[in-house]
């Protein structure tokens, strides 16, 4: 049986037989070497540069929440997820689906990967859906690296929660004017859509019950700018920005929970 292409990452995580038994495509030597150099697939924690241990505090709080709450939906990701919990669409619509919000500002793909594998996904009740939204902060990584990191996150979620529905909103554009990071995020989205929507790319143990939700359209205006009415600092969403952009995520969750 071919070993998973992410065997390097395997050894760093708690033993998960389901991953070794994945019917993943065999890796050639080049690809394995590439993976070894991809920071996005190696679970990691950020350095506490300031000395106030805030990231660790939040992680521990989330671990406790996982253990003591009875959620049906878990959101995990970066600042855009974290700030979502203060929006009107969250308080009026999304949160009534019994949600937990495990967003941490500044988080990179590999930090979210670490958190999933180190306690934040130890629940006492069955989870119905997981929303994963991270990647924009990996500005030093290629689109392919970010994409592979997101696949690794999907594998990690499945290793913890089996066949749970996984919702992947597409990454959002950023910056007031055109810039390389808009294209970078767009490329990641192309990879995601191709992987999870194209039946030819179906991969047992990876692509089942994963729903990529398009949320990145309609943000960049005709003149190629992003308005501060949608993203107040050209990265983070205003309240009305959240209402418009996360509505498809809300709809998808309603669909999933109905079944």
């Amino acid at each position: 049986m071919a070993e998973s292409t992410h065997s390097i990452a395997n050894h760093r995580c708690d033993n998960s037989n389901s991953r070794v038994n994945d019917a993943a495509a065999a890796a050639d030597d080049n690809r394995l070497a590439e993976e070894m150099n991809n920071p996005c697939v190696i679970p990691a924690r950020p350095e506490d540069v300031v000395g106030d241990k805030r990231w660790e505090s939040m992680h521990k709080r989330y671990v406790t929440e996982a253990r003591t709450s009875e959620p049906e939906v878990v959101f995990i990701g970066d600042s855009i997820v974290q700030q979502l919990q203060f929006s009107t669409i969250w308080t009026e619509k999304i949160n009534s689906l019994h949600c937990l919000n495990f967003g941490i500002g500044g988080d990179r793909v590999e930090y979210v990967l670490w958190r999933i594998l180190n306690g934040e996904f130890e629940f006492n009740v069955p989870i119905k859906a997981v929303v994963v939204f991270v990647g924009t902060n990996n500005t030093d990584c290629t689109p392919h690296e970010v994409f592979e990191g997101l696949l690794e996150i999907v594998r990690a979620v499945k290793s913890k929660l089996g066949g749970v529905a996984i919702v992947l909103p597409t990454l959002l554009p950023r910056g007031q004017n055109p810039n390389p990071y808009r294209e970078r995020n767009d490329h990641v989205n192309t990879f995601l859509l191709d992987k999870f929507e194209n039946p030819a790319n179906a991969e047992p143990g990876l692509t089942e019950n994963v729903h990529v939700v398009r949320i990145h359209g309609g943000i960049v205006q005709g003149d190629q700018t992003i308005s501060h009415h949608v993203m107040h600092d050209y990265l983070h969403l205003t309240d009305s920005g959240y209402a418009k952009i996360f509505e498809p995520v809300h709809s998808k969750l309603m669909q999933i929970l109905k079944n």
């Binding site: 106030d52 241990k53 805030r54 950023r174 910056g175 004017n177 990071y181 990265l235």
Partner: protein, 228 residues
């Protein structure tokens, strides 16, 4: 390791992410000074930017005709640069609320206070008659830590330096966040740095009270600041 610049040297933010967001935000602030009249301008870092998205901003500060020039992650040097590069031109506010320093964790308390003083001087050059309100720096981190100690020292030094400068009002907003067991609650600061609605009420209602007095063109009452 590169030595940290002293806080008195104005510095724009180099484009760390490659999408020019900081400069876009600065330029937008410049436009706002040309398009809007403001009685109060808030200028500073993450704490002020986050404040704009709390309920208390809409309820208490928006009615006072405020502009919020807070930028997440700004250092003292960045705020200094912004003031020297137009953000207080073309406006005649009655008060400026200055709140910056928490991100200068690599500087000493003395350097931080020197920087804040330099900002105050720059503001006075632009707006000689304005009141400058300086809320004390807030503690951070769930548990006691070295940065809290540094912030405490900064606040102590500010207490000895600022009261002698005319039309500068130092106001303590940091009391009531550290609980008896030494921790900060995530109900006050959701990430142990940025204020929740509840936390922002606790910290900034006193600032609102002070602004009301200043805008009514009186000197502030003597015992407004809670006693130590």
């Amino acid at each position: 390791m590169v030595k940290m610049h002293p806080c008195t040297k104005p510095l724009p933010v180099e484009d760390p992410d490659g999408d020019q967001r900081w400069m876009s935000i600065h330029n937008r602030f410049l436009s706002e000074t040309r398009e809007k009249d403001a009685d109060v301008i808030f200028i500073g870092d993450s704490i002020l930017q986050a404040l704009q998205h709390t309920d208390i901003w809409n309820e208490l500060f928006a009615p006072l005709h405020c502009l919020n020039f807070g930028i997440h992650r700004d250092l003292i040097q960045n705020v200094l640069w912004r003031i020297q590069n137009g953000e207080l031109d073309n406006v005649r506010p009655k008060a400026v609320v200055l709140h910056v320093g928490t991100n200068n964790h690599q500087n000493t308390p003395e350097e931080i206070v020197d920087g804040i003083t330099e900002i105050i001087n720059s503001i006075k050059e632009k707006l000689p008659d304005v009141y400058i309100v300086v809320p004390s720096l807030l503690p951070r981190g769930q548990h006691p830590n070295v940065i809290r100690d540094k912030i405490n020292l900064v606040n102590e030094i500010l207490k000895s330096r600022l009261p002698i400068i005319p039309k500068v009002e130092l106001i303590a907003i940091d009391k009531g966040f550290i609980q008896p067991d030494g921790t900060i609650s995530h109900h006050d600061m959701h990430d142990y740095l940025l204020l929740t609605n509840a936390g922002s009420k606790k910290a900034f209602e006193p600032v609102h009270e002070l602004l009301l007095q200043l805008l009514n063109e009186g000197e502030p009452e003597k015992d407004l600041t809670p006693s130590e």
